[in-house]
C-alpha cells in the first residue's frame, strides 16, 4: 500500500468516525425519548440515500479526465479541509467552544420530549425526520470526502471501506455504551482530518493545474508536515494572544 493510499484510508476512516459520533448523538437522543422504530427507519433511509450517492457519483467521475478531476477535487478539498482546520485551530487555541457531545445529547432529548406527536405513513414523523436529516447531513460530508479521495486517486473502494469501518465501529461502540461518545477526542480527529484534506487538496489541486511535484508522493508528506507545523504554531500564538488579552485575575 502506497503512502497516499494509507493516508486516504486513514482520512476516510477518521472523517467518517467523527461525523458518525455526531450522528449517533442525534439518533440516540431521539431514539431514547421517541422510541426506536421510526428513528431507525430514518437512519436506514438516510443510509440508502448516502450509499446511492456514492454508487452513482463515484463511477460517473471516472469519465472525467484525471487532471481536470484532480483540479476540481483539489480545489474543493482545499476549501472544505481549510474549514475543518480553521475551526480545529480556533477550538484548540480557546477562541471557539469545543463541541460537547453530552450537552448535544441533553439538548436533543429535551427537544424530542417537547415535540408534538404527528403520525405519517405509520411513523412517528418527528423521530423519522430528525434521525433522517441528522444522519444525511453528517453523512454528506463523509460522502464528499470518500468520493473526492477515491476518485482523484482511483481508489473509491478503499476510501469507502475506510468510511464503512468507522460507521461499524461507532455503531458498535454506541450500542455497547448506550450513550453519546463524549470521550472521543473530536477536535483532535478533526484537526488531523482537516490537515489531511488540506494537504491532499494542495497536492492534487496543484497537480491538476499542471504542476510536477518533486519527489512525487514524498511532496505530499512534505506539504502535510509544513501545514502541520504551521497549524501548531498558529495554535500556540493564538493561545498566547488570548491569554494576554484576558483581564488579570480571570484565572481565579
Amino acid at each position: 500500500m502506497s503512502t497516499s493510499e494509507v493516508l486516504i484510508l486513514l482520512g476516510a476512516f477518521s472523517a467518517s468516525a467523527v461525523e458518525m459520533v455526531e450522528a449517533l448523538t442525534i439518533v440516540l437522543g431521539v431514539g431514547v425519548v421517541r422510541g426506536w422504530r421510526s428513528t431507525l427507519i430514518g437512519v436506514g433511509a438516510a443510509a440508502i440515500v448516502l450509499a446511492a450517492l456514492v454508487a452513482a457519483l463515484g463511477p460517473a467521475l471516472t469519465y472525467v479526465p484525471i487532471s481536470t478531476l484532480r483540479l476540481i477535487v483539489g480545489a474543493l478539498l482545499l476549501a472544505f479541509g481549510m474549514q475543518w482546520l480553521r475551526k480545529a485551530i480556533l477550538r484548540s487555541s480557546g477562541h471557539k467552544a469545543m463541541h460537547d457531545e453530552d450537552e448535544a445529547f441533553r439538548r436533543e432529548r429535551t427537544e424530542a420530549a417537547a415535540a408534538g406527536r404527528e403520525e405519517k405513513a405509520g411513523l412517528d414523523w418527528y423521530a423519522f425526520t430528525v434521525s433522517f436529516k441528522g444522519v444525511l447531513l453528517e453523512g454528506l460530508e463523509v460522502v464528499f470526502i470518500v468520493i473526492s479521495f477515491g476518485s482523484a486517486q482511483g481508489r473509491l473502494g478503499l476510501a469507502a471501506a475506510g468510511a464503512a469501518a468507522a460507521v461499524v465501529l461507532v455503531t458498535v461502540a454506541g450500542v455497547l455504551i448506550r450513550g453519546p461518545l463524549e470521550r472521543v477526542p473530536e477536535n483532535t480527529i478533526k484537526f488531523a482530518v482537516g490537515l489531511l484534506l488540506t494537504s491532499f487538496g494542495c497536492f492534487w489541486g496543484a497537480e491538476g493545474a499542471g504542476v510536477d511535484w518533486p519527489g512525487d508522493e514524498l511532496s505530499l508528506l512534505a506539504v502535510l508536515g509544513f501545514l502541520g507545523l504551521l497549524s501548531f504554531v498558529l495554535v500556540r500564538v493564538l493561545r498566547r494572544q488570548r491569554l494576554a488579552l484576558r483581564p488579570s485575575g480571570a484565572e481565579a
Binding site: 481549510m82 474549514q83 477562541h95 488540506t198 496543484a206 506539504v223
Partner: protein, 66 residues
Amino acid sequence: MKYLQAFGRFWWDFIVGDDWRVAAGLAVALGLTAALTHSGVNAWWLMPPAVGALLAGSVWRAASRD
C-alpha cells in the same frame, strides 16, 4: 424560490463556509499556478505557502473578532 435559496445557502455553507476570502484566495492561487505552469514554470512552490498564508490570515481575523 424559498427552497432554491435554502439549497444555495446549504452548498455555500458546505463549500465556502465562514470565510469567503479563503475560497477566493484559493481560486486565485490555483489560477496563478495554472498560468505559471502553462507558461513553462513548474510552480510547485506556490500552493503550500499560499494555503499557509490564507489559513493564518483567516484564523487571525476570526481570533481578532473574538
